[in-house]
């Protein structure tokens, strides 16, 4: 979700981009505003003109991250506009790619770990973001006709959150690196629960969605393919 550093960003955007990079590398508490201003090619006075405090800058960075996530969801929708099930598989593929691409985990989750105080002003941004991501995935599971959509969304959310934090501890040697096959097996198990109890009209709808599912680890029973 990084943007190319070559474009001539305005100071505000440059500060946010620099801060996000530095926060990821060193932790939010591991870097000060002086370093951020310097590396963004500006100065502390300009930084404080745009952001009243380091906390304000942290919040702006998290909101910028949330905007990237919005673009991520749009790209998932566009990838398979007619198949929510294929979108779920695309979600698995892309979040896994993001996780493997940078072992420093999710900016929002990391911020929650670092900003331990209950009253920190960034906490409502983190909470709202995490709930929205989970609810969006649950809606996608419902659209895909998954019987226990909320439960599947919960499981997938915990698996990816666990994978990202696990890879920060053990890198690519641990279970985090195997997220994609673990998630696909869970999806397959939930998807198989669905078809028998659907009326015929919905059945055809569901079969179109099942087609999009790609590479599951065990074949569906024939009855479930209908």
């Amino acid at each position: 979700m990084e943007t190319c550093g070559a474009s001539p960003l305005r100071p505000r955007e440059r500060i946010i981009k620099t801060a996000r990079d530095l926060f990821r590398k060193h932790g939010i508490r591991g870097v000060g505003v002086d370093t951020i201003a310097e590396q963004a090619g500006t100065n502390k006075m300009t930084l404080y003109r745009h952001f009243g405090s380091k906390d304000d800058l942290i919040i702006a960075c998290l909101q910028d991250f949330a905007n990237d996530a919005e673009a991520f969801w749009q790209s998932i929708e566009m990838s398979h506009p007619d198949s929510p099930m294929a979108q779920i598989h695309e979600w698995v593929r892309i979040v896994s790619e993001c996780a493997l691409d940078d072992l420093r985990g999710c900016d929002m989750a990391n911020a929650a770990v670092e900003l331990a105080e209950d009253a920190h002003p960034a906490r409502h941004v983190i909470e709202e973001f995490k709930m929205a991501q989970r609810n969006r995935l649950a809606q996608l599971c419902r659209d895909a006709g998954i019987e226990k959509a909320d439960q599947l969304a919960d499981t997938l959310c915990l698996l990816i959150e666990g994978a990202r934090v696990n890879m920060q501890s053990v890198g690519l040697e641990g279970p985090g690196a195997r997220f994609i096959s673990l998630a696909e097996d869970v999806i397959a198990a939930f998807a198989r629960e669905k078809p028998e109890r659907k009326p015929a009209t919905l059945h055809r709808h569901a079969s179109a969605k099942i087609k999009g599912r790609g590479q599951l680890h065990a074949p569906l029973p024939a009855a479930n393919r209908a």
Copy 2:
């Protein structure tokens, strides 16, 4: 995994206990050695006599945490000495209880987030601990006769790691708080893959697997609880 504060601890133990408490509350980077020494009822000179640096103290805290985990595994083994499957359920119950008891997550995972530098001396302690926990759970799954023991252990590890970091973001409103039922459903699905496949011809093996995956949410057969 906290010990009672009333016992007269020696300075070294008192410093470790105080540091662990403060690191949990404020983050490792959110608290300095002066505060730790003061709150442990000692002084910085004594602290540095026991621990050459803050990094050494961090490592000692993480090793102390690992010792607690060893006691945790022993209590699980003793709870159901003759039933690895019952021990798995006990693992779920206790890790869930720990997670809900203190929403600040796992000390090891939090340290991995905060100590972002690859070369930080605490990283090998974290890595060794996380791998050992995962391997111990996998052994327990094997002992319980789970066909895909490694995969179940991976899934459970990611679910609990995800739950603990998720609860730091969204508290008890999100999927983290539902860990216990999500984990039990996953265990049930894996456990059901086992019994029907013996004696194994390839054909029956395959059909048992498909059957096992079909009903994720049905109760475990009595035989699997043993």
